[in-house]
């Protein structure tokens, strides 16, 4: 990290803080705008002269969204899908990544497996969706939350293996070897030694996948249909295309759908940054 020392000139300092301030405004303004629009009265949203700060705050749009649109139901649906998807990929991914990092898999199998993981991460996810649709259709899993969570493995599983592999490789293997000498089995080692040490890695993988599932739109749009199972993305997407200019309600729904991820971003900042350090390794 570079420290701004005494050598930095005043002009440079001013330039630096100006750019910084500009960046912060550009980044935060749309979020601010979403928030204020959601509490503005209809008249202040649609006006020729912009209203930067609403004169009165109304919860009318939230009432509309929560009570009339039953938005909470969709938030719960989205949470169920995301949690199931994250759990499946975390469990299967952690075992696979551990095997790749530590266990004597035949070199060819290991490298081709890894190649596949990277390949799947790279290919356009939309490309697989037709047969996936036909498979889930045959299994009666179309239009169910479980079916969508399974489909999400196309996104989340390669990502999990990839991220976790980095974490496993960064972990010194001495402790495991010591435990091996003591005669503990692999699973005991995993449970008592490896997983506790890799916990931050598991957490950041889970979080990144959760964010991905929470905001996913294309698969949800294709796989879900009845209102009982829709996720927030599909509901808001429908809202935008059908009732384009009910901005107040739209922004209220958008903000509500953002809160779960936003709330938890403050706690997990450092985990996310750490996993991006892993990505590039």
């Amino acid at each position: 990290m570079i420290v701004m020392g005494g050598k930095t000139s005043k002009v440079e300092k001013i330039a630096f803080y100006t750019v910084l301030a500009l960046v912060m405004v550009l980044v935060l303004f749309p979020i601010y705008w979403m928030a204020v629009t959601s509490i503005k009265t209809e008249g202040e949203v649609i006006t020729e002269v912009p209203v930067w700060i609403p004169t009165v705050a109304t919860l009318e749009h939230y009432k509309e969204v929560i009570i009339d649109m039953e938005f909470v139901k969709y938030i719960v649906n989205t949470a169920i899908v995301s949690v199931i998807a994250v759990l499946i990929s975390l469990i299967t991914g952690a075992f696979a990544a551990y095997a790749l990092a530590r266990l004597p898999l035949p070199a060819k199998l290991a490298s081709s497996f890894l190649f596949f993981v990277l390949l799947i991460r790279m290919l356009p996810s939309g490309a697989f969706v037709i047969p996936l649709y036909l498979i889930l259709d045959r299994l009666n899993l179309i239009n169910t939350l479980l079916g969508l969570a399974i489909a999400y493995q196309v996104y989340t599983l390669p990502y999990s293996i990839w991220l976790l592999l980095g974490f496993f490789r960064a972990l010194p293997s001495e402790l495991e070897e010591a435990a091996m000498v003591d005669g503990a089995s692999r699973l005991i080692i995993l449970k008592d030694v490896v997983f506790p040490m890799i916990a931050p890695g598991l957490a950041s993988t889970a979080i990144l996948n959760f964010i991905m599932c929470w905001g996913e739109y294309l698969y949800a749009l294709i796989f879900l249909s009845s209102p009982d199972v829709l996720t927030v993305s599909v509901v808001i997407g429908g809202f935008i295309t059908e009732y384009g200019t009910l901005w107040g309600e739209l922004c209220a729904a958008a903000l509500l759908s953002s809160l779960p991820v936003l709330a938890f971003s403050f706690y997990v900042q450092k985990y996310i940054i750490r996993s991006y350090m892993m990505i590039s390794k």
């Binding site: 759990l87 479980l146 079916g147 699973l187 005991i188 249909s225 059908e242």
Partner: protein, 436 residues
């Protein structure tokens, strides 16, 4: 190795748990109690109107519960199609936009309402329905048996500022599209801050719906009797030219406009003519709380040009899928919801357009909506979109090229030629094309 098995057991237990909840949850709602019929319909004012009559239904049929599932337009189509194709029977009543009918008929997905009604001894009073609305619910069109009952008498209308028209001595209502163009020109020239027209230009269904009345008024056709596409005929090109001229008087950003923008400009008094409005948009025009043009806007049948006026019909119908497990209850509901009595309640409560003549002429209703006799006239002279199962594709092609002509990327002739060539391909592949 025993420990590996332990983990496997836990894992499979977890998976089992997840799957069981996944499978059971959707079925819980259908378990016991009185019969529940499920209605799949378009979200928005359709649902609002239906909700207005639910309490009467509950009083009359306490044993038949109604569950409404509301979808966006495209979602609704996709959901009901897949459900009927797979014979799942998730829906007992479906709300059908009239262009979908040929496809549903061809696939044989719907229940013959005449037959079912006869079998269970329910009589339906057909004579009160507007003919054009009934026809689109028949398989085949106009001549066949009734497979769906019209419940929303949507028809394309035109709205214009009668105060401004009178001020400049313009004919009220305009009889031809050329007169409309002239009026737009004059008003936008003399009235600062008021646009001559406001039109829907969004690619897809909106731009096509906006264009078709002009297209038809010039005597152009989309497909002829032998399944040959005719959208690049000289009449069609002429129609597109005048439509583009009208669009020049529309507010900037028209290529992204859908119903919301048209309504906004109309209600704020910032547009003199909305060349295309639907009954659902104009119900509040005389409500001073939301409208700045109370009493200043007149509704008329869209004009003709080379031929008589041709408003587009956009009726919605209730049909009963073959796969429904509660057909009789569904029929009872459909008959109830389309009865004159209930249509009147829907119209009064939400301005939902009726499909029965008696409701249009009901004094109480006309008092609230002064343009209803005109709306009835429009509906009676209305024209349906081509009765082919591939209309969605044709509309998508036409919508794209109209949009390209609108933004000036193609000349009218080029755009319509390109559209015609692509539509021809679709018709050939669907086996509709029989020309040479």
């Amino acid at each position: 190795m025993y420990s590996t098995r332990g983990i496997g057991k836990k894992l499979s237990l977890l998976l089992l748990l997840v799957m069981v909840t996944g499978f059971i949850a959707p079925h819980l709602a259908l378990s016991k109690g009185p019969v529940t019929i499920t209605i799949a319909m378009a979200a928005g004012y359709h649902v609002d109107a239906l909700k207005a009559i639910l309490k009467y239904w509950e009083k009359e049929h306490p044993d038949i519960k109604v569950r409404i599932l509301a979808f966006g337009y495209h979602d609704l189509y996709e959901k009901i199609v897949i459900d009927m194709r797979e014979g799942r029977g998730s829906y007992d009543v479906i709300e059908i936009d009239d262009p979908w009918m040929p496809e549903f008929c061809a696939a044989g997905w719907l229940t013959n309402i005449d037959e079912l009604a006869k079998k269970v001894g329910i009589t339906i009073n057909y004579s009160d329905f507007v003919d054009t609305a009934l026809w689109v619910g028949r398989c085949p069109y106009k001549t066949g048996a009734q497979y769906a009952l019209p419940e929303c008498g949507n028809v394309e209308l035109m709205a214009y500022r009668v105060d401004l028209f009178k001020k400049y001595g313009l004919p009220c209502p305009p009889k031809t599209w050329s007169e409309v163009l002239k009026a737009a020109e004059i008003i936008s020239k003399h009235e600062p801050g008021i646009y001559g027209t406001v039109m829907r230009g969004l690619r897809g269904n909106p731009i096509v719906s906006n264009f078709l009345p002009v297209f038809w008024a010039f005597g152009a056709r989309i497909i002829d009797e032998r399944g040959v596409p005719r959208v690049n005929s000289s009449e069609a090109v002429e129609a597109l030219k005048i439509w583009l001229a009208l669009a020049k008087y529309s507010p900037p950003g028209m290529s992204t406009f859908s119903s919301d923008q048209v309504k906004a400009y109309l209600y704020e008094g910032k547009a003199a003519i909305a060349t295309e409005v639907w009954p659902g948009w104009i119900g509040q025009l005389d409500n001073p709380e939301v409208s700045k043009v109370v009493g200043k806007v007149d509704i008329c049948v869209p004009p003709g040009e080379k031929t008589h006026p041709s408003p587009m019909i956009g009726v919605w119908l209730f049909g009963i899928p073959h796969s429904s497990k509660h057909k009789v209850e569904a029929l009872k509901f459909v008959v109830f919801a389309t009865s004159a009595e209930m249509q009147k309640i829907k119209a009064l409560a939400t301005g939902y357009p009726p499909t029965r003549k008696s409701v249009y002429l009901d004094p109480e209703v006309v008092k609230k909506y002064r343009w209803y006799p005109i709306q009835l006239k429009a509906l009676m002279t209305s024209r349906p979109r081509p009765r082919v199962p591939v209309w969605a594709e044709i509309e998508s092609i036409l919508g794209l090229y109209l949009s390209k002509a609108l933004i000036g990327e193609m000349s009218p002739q080029q755009a319509l030629n390109a559209a015609n060539a692509e539509i021809l391909e679709v018709l050939k592949e669907a086996g509709i094309y029989k020309g040479g």
